[in-house]
């Protein structure tokens, strides 16, 4: 056995060293040509005079404009008194950078440094094709500049924000670095990884849009800019939902919604009837959600939308036992995003017994909760929950949470959801 295992390991090593030596004629050329335009971005704690987090960035114009991810510099946006942004040059000298513009939703930021006449990267104008080789550059784990080859796999199909699916290994610290096509043009910005060669880039078009948009007045606090961007994003998503296909599908003895629109993906689950050890009542659930959160700052993510449908029935339990079980489920719904005390207020809730559309004598226990963002005025997380209370040993619950929305959008969606014919 040990012999086989070591032989296997050897093959892997040989293969990977062959990989490094061969097509990386391309990688080597690319690296030699462009690595001077890729820099490490450091968020420095002013008091400690040391870096608190690092990412990557790259020059996009001759006046010292750098592109990076919003999340790389988020803490400096949130607490400019505590943090400053520095850019590390090849000769180990540093330049202080200021933020010119951000897009929290697509996760991009533009920084400005005093660095005239530096080599600038070209942004791709031609769309890449699935299977094209892509080279990503950045500073993983503070280990110095690194180039990583991978494959372009098109736009992620169901993403709530535009994302390029890049099959390559991005690592922490590479965020904000560029990804090139074989012509050496930037096709995207490194942003996230799901592990196992599953990584994501912000498409270069989003960067072009941000560069073309007017630079905000430095007098306007960034919290207002973030509020506008989050509102606009929620407006886009909720409008898309409201205009979606509200087709119902059966779930147990009730109805649930199908995938209303592209960015909602649904998953189902039900009790395994063959598992005789599981004596709980029968349940069937359907849960639909968006696939990504908007990173606002350390510890605060938003933008997630989640719909859930839950059918519960029992032939074994008596009414009191059934409702005790049902109540345990009903009273433990949680929001889909998380935050901390300094960023979010406490929840406010309103409960009531509400009639349904299809049967006048059927009542639902309805719960609507909202919490406000402390520094982002007008942005809320909402949670809505409705459960039947007029049936004996059957229950039907419907639930949604929307993170980072506005009062108007949340109420419009609540109305559509309540009237959607699920009841």
């Amino acid at each position: 056995m040990p012999t086989i295992r070591s032989a296997f390991r050897l093959t892997i090593l040989l293969w990977s060293s062959a990989l490094l030596g061969q097509p990386n004629g391309g990688a080597q050329v690319l690296f030699a040509k462009h690595h001077a335009s890729v820099m490490q971005i450091r968020v420095m704690d002013r008091a400690a005079n040391n870096k608190s987090s690092t990412g990557s960035g790259f020059l996009v114009d001759g006046q010292g404009l750098l592109a990076t991810n919003y999340h790389v510099i988020a803490s400096a946006i949130d607490a400019p008194d505590k943090y400053r942004i520095e850019v590390l040059l090849r000769d180990e000298s540093v330049l202080v950078a200021e933020v010119k513009n951000v897009n929290v939703v697509s996760d991009l930021a533009l920084l400005k440094v005093e660095l005239p006449q530096a080599a600038v990267l070209t942004l791709a104008t031609k769309a890449s094709l699935k299977g094209d080789t892509v080279y990503s550059m950045g500073f993983p784990f503070d280990l110095g500049i690194t180039v990583i080859p991978g494959t372009y796999n098109g736009l992620a199909p169901h993403s709530a924000a535009n994302r390029v699916h890049f099959s390559g290994s991005l690592n922490a610290g590479m965020s904000g670095g560029p990804a090139f096509n074989e012509q050496g043009e930037v096709i995207g910005v490194n942003v996230a990884t799901a592990g196992n060669q599953m990584s994501f880039l912000v498409p270069v078009q989003d960067l072009k849009d941000l560069m073309a948009s007017p630079t905000p007045d430095p007098q306007v606090p960034y919290s207002e800019i973030l509020v506008q961007q989050l509102q606009k994003n929620s407006q886009r998503m909720i409008s898309q939902l409201l205009g979606g296909d509200w087709k119902t599908v059966p779930l147990g003895g009730a109805q649930a919604l199908d995938e209303v629109t592209g960015f909602l993906r649904c998953w189902g689950n039900s009790k395994d009837m063959n598992d005789s050890a599981d004596k709980r009542p029968f349940y069937a659930t359907r849960s639909c959600q968006t696939d990504h959160n908007i990173h606002v700052k350390q510890g605060l993510s938003t933008g997630k939308i989640e719909l859930q449908f839950y059918w519960l029935e029992s032939t074994e339990l008596n009414s009191i036992q059934f409702y005790n079980h049902y109540e345990r489920i009903f009273s433990r719904y949680r929001p889909g995003n998380a935050g901390r005390k300094q960023d979010l207020g406490n929840w406010s809730c309103e409960e009531g017994f509400v009639t349904t559309n299809n049967a006048a004598d059927e009542l639902t226990k309805s719960v609507f909760c909202a919490r406000a963002y402390k520094k982002l005025k007008g942005i809320y997380d909402v949670l809505f929950l409705q459960g039947s209370v007029s049936r004996d040993e059957q229950a039907h619950m419907i639930h949604f949470t929307i993170a980072g929305t506005t009062q108007e959008l949340a109420l419009a969606f609540t109305e559509r959801f309540m009237e959607s014919g699920i009841w």
Binding site: N324, L344, N346, E350, Y380, L411
Partner: protein, 322 residues
């Protein structure tokens, strides 16, 4: 002349014998002065000499089961008016005609009424109820998983055990301060309060279910519990101590205020605590417990803007605290 009270087994009422003799013979045989139908008594069990008014004399006539005076076996001893003897399964109390009796228990005094709250029937009933209560709760809370008999047994025993310990503690206090334990009265009382408080929280639960929001269920429960606990402590002190009315009132009031105060302080301290998950009222109950009608969807939605207004306030409140 003496009067002898003859009391058979538990639950039978005593009979009184008025006798003129100087020497009184007691036993099962027809030739005795006092004849007792108790198979554990000898034909001629004891003889009682009351010729000397100052010092009566009792002798056991070599009986099979002997004679007890205050739980001690005797063969021959002196006794005085009011003393109790046990022969076989029968208790005897011997009085002279001038024996000073305790004043009558008043039907108008709570204390005296409570002293009578000690019948075996009610005790058995209450202990059964207190044992059954947690078992019913466990059964009704099950989601279908099998419940082992020992779960029920442990619940029942711990419920009875708790009441016993509480009653015993009061009883010990009574023994020390009043030289009377009155264990049964205290056990009955403890169980009654336990049951009443459980019933009340059930009522609060159902009321709160029908009228969600408003005053928190926790708060309503605490008020009821504090009142009940106050009454319980007051009655416990009444039975077990000789404290003045004023002192009893002060002590039970302190207990009530203490409980309410603790709740208020913890509630107040936690008010601004950050909670990542909403603490909504998630009660859902069987339709049989829902007595009210519902509102329209439009009516409910019309109330929702207030939720946002309150959320804004909650975001400000905690801000000011930072």
């Amino acid at each position: 002349m003496v009067v002898i009270e003859v009391k058979g087994s538990e639950g039978t009422s005593p009979r009184f014998e008025r006798l003129n003799q100087h020497v009184i013979r007691i036993g099962r045989a027809p030739d005795n002065d006092v004849i007792i139908d108790d198979p554990y008594i000898d034909a001629h069990h004891i003889s009682l000499d009351v010729s000397d008014a100052a010092s009566w004399h009792v002798s056991d006539l070599d009986s099979v089961n002997g004679t007890l005076k205050s739980h001690h076996s005797i063969s021959s001893t002196t006794i005085c008016s009011g003393d109790e003897l046990t022969i076989g399964r029968t208790r005897l109390r011997i009085f002279d005609l001038e024996h000073r009796m305790q004043p009558a228990l008043s039907l108008r005094t709570l204390e005296h009424l409570l002293f009578g709250f000690n019948s075996t029937g009610s005790l058995v009933l209450f202990v059964a109820a207190i044992a059954l209560y947690p078992c019913i709760a466990i059964y009704l809370n099950s989601s279908g998983a099998e419940i082992k008999p020992d779960t029920y047994l442990v619940a029942a025993l711990s419920s009875i055990g708790t009441s016993l310990v509480l009653a015993a503690a009061w009883s010990l206090l009574g023994r020390l301060l009043r030289s009377e334990s009155r264990f049964r009265v205290l056990l009955n009382l403890t169980i009654v309060f336990w049951l009443v408080s459980s019933l009340l929280s059930l009522l609060v639960y159902i009321t709160y279910y029908n009228f969600p929001g408003g005053m928190g269920r926790g708060f309503a429960n605490v008020i009821f519990m504090a009142v009940l606990l106050g009454i319980y402590v007051y009655l416990g002190l009444l039975i077990s101590t000789r404290l003045a009315v004023r002192s009893r009132q002060i002590i039970s009031l302190t207990v009530m205020v203490g409980l309410l105060g603790t709740f208020a302080v913890t509630d107040f301290s936690r008010r601004d605590q950050y909670r990542p998950n909403p603490s909504y009222d998630g009660l859902v109950r069987s339709p049989r417990l829902l007595f009210r009608s519902g509102e329209s969807q439009v009516g409910y939605r019309a109330r929702l803007p207030d939720v946002f207004a309150q959320a804004d306030e909650l975001a400000l409140d905690t801000d000011a605290e930072d």
